[in-house]
Point group: C3
Chain length 392, copies 3
């Protein structure tokens, strides 16, 4: 099959169906059905092939994709901008200077003011546990209200570019990478994936990546193992989702307390640092209260606690425990590489280097996933819409 | 009539005429003829309907819209960017770090350097009374010179996104809102509009909104009443224009000194804070002289003066004085809402909430007004140009 | 000939040839062959005429042009953005906060992350002698690696927007200006060009402009004279290139030690300040070492040294020495104009004013040169590609 024929096959498969993502916000993978996720994955795959075959992907003209980032961002900004551009959207960014998240009238009004000609608002808000997801829901509700009142000519939708609970553009990109590596979703059944904490000399890394990974990968019949030192617990909601999904999908979900145990026989390893949910909650409270001294003390304590777990490093010895000693290493990047970006970190230079270009390929899916989410929330039949644009 | 037919009717009406806005700068509504204003209004209305009907509005390809903002801006930046995008223009922003406005060679050179492939330069410069409009004229003259010398392939035009004298994109958006509310320009004849000062706990709000409103609304046979406490005078030029226009249009223009008097029998109310022209002039002088202590004293005095006028709040009791107790409330947003964004402000929560979504609809016109100004200053026959782009 | 016919003639001349710039980085003019430079010049000329004739120049859709600027930039940012827009590329900027240039894995990873859907990365890095060019080569090598590994769907190319060694978009724009002034490349043979140092009250102006000018203009049979006070030496590499090229092209290259000597009989004068290479090298070392006091001392010394050479000012008296007293004055802008932008500077107000609009026309070539470099590095047959887009 030519690439063109593959694209047509992929799009024809998803065209004509009922699209329950239309005019809704894409916030958490675990509140989405498996057909909804598969629609996004298929559209992303089709878009990536269309780019390689230089087929046209523009479906918008003269409309905007807005973004709101609560902190500095290079990679996410690029991924959003390039995903939007692929569909013909210009982008604009709302600068939010204040760490205090807006509420009520300020959110409602701002949401309307930046959406008159916007198809989508991408939001990244992962800094404050307990707030990011709530803020995105509030923005979505405001957009719905303004659309229903006739103020907005379209139901501008929200796409979660990372919140305190989930990181769906990352986890779905990671899943697309696994589909490429193993040959589709069905091939993932029975594979063992180890999502493990890893040591990092920095503090306050968000929880959304491990939460997003276990909440998503558990839906495809994989044996998902989450591993971390005691005290580095994640939020309950995504873990509950992972337990429920693993039962439904014929896979399993378990928690281990050593990297070695998690790596044992694993097909896929994802060693990555994060901060304890407990610490992140306290951090949010102290930031809100403006207690600078207590914040410094919290950081110091947390770093001291981290330092006790320097052995949680993905090295050759631990990699040897995985299936045939060559599990697929994954990371959302940038990784803390021992001897490269820090003295001691999440992964040794040798292990990272072996998989370096594969981690780039993993990241390469993100613009397509973002574009696929926009397509799926903005068109009743996105597959048909892309098919229409193909030259005869 | 279908939307498509309405669009064609609107555009056919304005197509084929002599367009005296072509290759000129849009700086002040009161230096523009009524046919010129009606062209902009018709184009804006057509564009808005074209968006709702998903009709193509791209008329440029590969050209830029530049913006220069003298202060932080979310709403204006969005409105300019989305208006430009609608027409197919990319945007770029000139960062002006320094509060000292450039003059002479610096303006001439910069104007040329950012205009080689720019169709329009949108400028917001409302901070310094006596300077914003002068700066825009200087930029316009520089662009004209470079165009006539063959340096620029087009006469890049200037659009005033708010200056010290006028705020034409706001006042024309407000007028479009009134046309929608009442059914066209003619329906505004005899309506009473109360543009009144209102209390705000902040200092230094620009004068361009009230000046722009009285300078524009007086041209359509309305009874325009300006109200403010003693000492909160506006600049002379727009008031003189309002007096002249109200005579010509068969309406009236008067100044009242209480909110109650202005609201009495009003069809439309626009309660909004501003700083006295006298204070803003002094503020400009002190900023230029670098007299920080005197500036602080001026702010303190001005806030104390404001505090004597807390009764200038649009509340239910005053609203009851208006025609049938239900005048249309207008605001350029964001409003200072008592008990919401401040303890005591321009409007009570109850009054604002009743009109909240209408104020959003009022703001929604701005991207179309900006796009209409660009069309009108960049095409000899903008109506025909939009008609050409309609699919057969 | 109509403009359209001229465009077709220009493009037909370069279409069909072997394009050795394809999939490579454009970093230094002196590592490029004369046919490669002529391809860029012809494409730039064609694009400029296409803009004037309103012919379509879009060759990309939904792809990005990335930029990396190491310092604040208005003109270069505009030129890059407008050049990209002309071809249908959206742009995005990578913010590099830190003065410390990234190396190794950070460069490789970042290069990939900002290039998934990018056709080009434009980089300006002229602050640290010995580093800018090296950084660009590292980015280019990283992009090549990621492309060859299949991570990038295209070989994203690097365009040098100014480095420590060369400033090819400036020097080629200057050359386009000379072609317009004299009627093509052949007409430049035998012309005397004086690239001379000039006094400026500021410190640390980069060397890339004079280096780029002598390294490029020496290739077209011109008599290139470089003049500066003792101690203001440039880097060796571009001077060696100038000597080599002048021999090959039938022109000459010499160094003078007074502005008067350089101006004598000159057809073209380019008076422009720069810092001694020796000082810039020391500055890089001190910045890297974080030696603030030594840096201040260096700046003070350098300014004191500059002050001894205030006579290096392009004034009427020196201009009278040039061919018929009316050599073409050139500058990359902004110029330090005596009595306008500074008390005493590079050029007197009278001399500058006479050539002011010509310096704007000189700058106007840059967006087209940048677009031409992108075309030449991204298409095997860019002339044919532009021809294809012409309406029948």
């Amino acid at each position: 099959m030519s690439t063109r024929e593959q694209v047509e096959a992929l799009l024809t498969k998803v065209a004509g169906g009922v699209n329950t993502l239309y005019d809704s916000d894409f916030l958490l993978t675990w509140e989405r059905s498996r057909p909804e996720l598969e629609l996004v994955l298929s559209l992303a795959e089709a878009l990536q092939q269309m780019v390689r075959a230089k087929l046209p992907t523009r479906v918008f003209d003269g409309r905007l994709g807005m973004s709101i980032f609560r902190d500095k961002s290079t990679r996410t900004r690029y991924a959003f901008r390039s995903g939007c551009s692929l569909l013909g959207l210009n982008t604009e960014e709302l600068s939010e200077e204040h760490s205090q998240i807006a509420h009520g009238e300020t959110v409602r009004e701002t949401a309307a003011m930046i959406s008159f000609l916007s198809e989508v608002v991408g939001i990244r808000d992962d800094q404050f546990l307990g707030e990011g997801h709530a803020y995105m829901k509030e923005v979505g509700a405001s957009l719905k209200e303004s659309y229903e009142a006739g103020v907005l000519p379209q139901r501008t939708t929200v796409v979660n570019l990372q919140c305190d609970l989930d990181h769906p553009t990352q986890s779905l990109s990671d899943l697309r990478h696994l589909m490429d590596e193993y040959g589709g979703l069905e091939a993932l059944r029975g594979k063992k994936l180890a999502m493990t904490w890893a040591y990092s000399p920095s503090y306050g890394k968000p929880l959304s990546v491990p939460q997003g990974i276990v909440g998503l990968m558990s839906r495809f019949g994989m044996d998902v193992v989450l591993a971390h030192p005691e005290g580095y617990e994640l939020e309950d909601e995504p873990l509950a989702a992972a337990r429920r999904f693993s039962g439904e999908s014929g896979g399993s979900f378990s928690v281990a307390h050593s990297m070695e145990e998690a790596f044992e026989g694993a097909d896929i390893i994802y060693p990555k640092s994060w901060a304890p949910a407990r610490v992140m909650r306290e951090r949010t409270r102290l930031l809100r209260a403006g207690e600078g001294d207590a914040l410094d003390a919290l950081e110091k304590d947390c770093l001291a606690q981290n330092a006790q777990h320097k052995a949680w490093e993905a090295d050759e010895k631990k990699l040897a425990l995985t299936r045939e000693g060559e599990a697929l290493y994954m990371h959302c990047l940038p990784a803390d590489i021992s001897g490269v970006s820090c003295e001691r970190g999440e992964v040794t230079e040798g292990v990272f280097e072996r998989y370096r270009l594969k981690t780039y390929a993993e990241a390469a899916h993100k613009p397509y996933i973002i574009a696929a989410m926009i397509l799926a929330t903005r068109f009743t039949d996105p597959g048909q819409r892309l098919l229409q644009g193909l030259p005869r």
